[in-house]
């Protein structure tokens, strides 16, 4: 392991041990090595003697924030990349968790993860909300472009492209499970009263599922890339959510997960909101 990551890991272990033995948190959610494969996986530590198992590497690509919802009503520590803190910020803005329920161990100066294309498009390299910082914050700001790979295509070509992409979908819902936004008790995709979309694999229902999924992400998706990474079929479903991210930024100057006090896109409105595309 590179020195930098070794240092971060050490610091996380040290601080976690302290937090746990002082009883400041009941558990720490972080990354560690799996028991069998030794791959990086989320781990849950409540015994201070086990704090040494906590690690941080460029393979820490799961979004941990979602686990906080399982521990509401108690104090939980969480090792958080800047994107995790954005996810936490969305939860705070939507009042899904309380600020005092979480202790955020935030990683400063995130360099991005291995194999996650979304990291190249991310301009948030320091935690947004944090209780304890690891490392020095990054000074210079970056504002990378959120790319539109389909920009050159005509509408018909995009339709064909998405038809092809979504026809491979096996409806395993790994994209949903990986995404921190997906917190509904009952997913529309599982509901049969009403049945929003057929549950079996088919071009029509797959396309419908992905449109609906993207619509549910609008104004909440932080473009973290977890969905894409989880997909066993390598489907570019992030193209849709990313487009909505760009639109929200351009039209409403809204980017989710930057301010816990700010309401999410659909939870508020302005009197002079755009009506672009409406029939006059």
């Amino acid at each position: 392991m590179e020195n930098k990551y070794l240092e971060i890991s050490k610091k996380i272990q040290e601080e976690s041990r302290k937090l746990l033995s002082e009883g400041k948190v009941e558990r720490i959610i972080g990354f560690g090595r799996g028991e069998f494969t030794k791959e990086i996986t989320p781990i849950f530590v409540s015994d201070p003697d086990r704090a040494d198992e906590l690690l941080f590497t460029p393979e820490c690509d799961m979004m941990l924030a979602k686990y906080l919802l399982d521990y509401k009503g108690s104090k939980t520590g969480i090792v958080a990349k800047p994107c995790d803190t954005r996810a936490i910020t969305v939860y705070l803005a939507e009042e899904l968790i309380k600020r005092e329920e979480v202790f955020i161990i935030g990683i400063n100066d995130c360099e991005g993860l291995d194999d996650n294309d979304a990291c190249e498009e991310c301009g948030i390299r320091n935690p947004v909300v944090v209780d304890l910082e690891i490392g020095q914050p990054r000074k210079e700001e970056i504002d990378p472009e959120i790319k539109d790979e389909l920009e050159e295509m005509t509408r018909e070509e995009r339709f064909e492209y998405f038809q092809k992409e979504f026809s491979r979908c096996i409806r395993c819902y790994a994209c949903r499970e990986a995404c921190f936004v997906c917190t509904c008790d009952e997913c529309f995709a599982d509901s049969n009263q009403p049945q929003w979309v057929g549950a079996s694999i088919g071009k029509r229902d797959n396309f419908t599922f992905h449109l609906m999924r993207a619509m549910h992400m609008a104004g909440r998706c932080i473009n973290c890339g977890a969905c894409e990474q989880a997909c066993p079929e390598g489907i570019n479903m992030r193209a849709l959510t990313k487009h909505l991210y760009r639109v929200a930024k351009d039209v409403y100057q809204f980017e989710p997960g930057l301010d816990p006090e700010e309401k999410t896109l659909f939870a508020t409105y302005k009197l002079n909101d755009s009506e672009q595309g409406f029939l006059d």
Binding site: F159, F162, M215, L279
Partner: protein
């Protein structure tokens, strides 16, 4: 693509009870002429319309949708249409980006006294959708054909 010329689109119109539905009523009782291709669904407020309903309409074979609510500022429930406005703009962007012609996805405002405007809007929407032709479905297989198959046709 099925014959465009004698194509009679199926258009789902979600109309707010307090304005556009009354406008449709007014247009009717004033004997204004407008195309008969819309199927009206009356809803309590444009803010009630889940974008999923519109996506589902396309899944089920609608050639287009029209949503009409109260003008901004006139909502019966004060701000339902303001919330709706954001959702519909995003939905429109999503559909357009996914490759569904924007002519099929129509949003507008219409007050209870605007019977004439309502008739004109329906005219326009029908023309827009006729322009892009029948909706072939997300799988491109078309719906009319499926109906024929089910009816034992070719």
């Amino acid at each position: 693509m099925a014959a465009k010329e004698n194509f009679e689109p199926k258009i789902l119109a979600f109309l707010c009870n307090w304005c556009s539905y009354a406008a449709a009523d007014l247009a009717g009782s004033s004997r204004m002429q407008y195309p008969p291709q819309i199927r009206v669904i009356r809803v309590p407020c444009s803010g009630r319309i889940d974008p999923f309903l519109l996506i589902r309409a396309f899944n089920s074979g609608a050639d287009g949708v029209l949503v009409s609510g109260c003008h901004p500022g006139d909502c019966h429930y004060l701000d339902g249409n303001y919330y709706a406005r954001r959702r519909f703009l995003m939905l429109k962007e999503l559909m357009q980006y996914a490759g569904i012609p924007e002519e099929r996805v129509n949003f507008t405002w219409c007050s209870a006294s605007e019977g004439k405007r309502f008739a004109a809007i329906v005219d326009r929407v029908v023309a827009r959708i006729k322009e892009v032709g029948p909706w072939e479905g997300f799988d491109g297989r078309g719906f009319a054909r499926r109906e024929e198959e089910m009816a034992g046709g070719k």
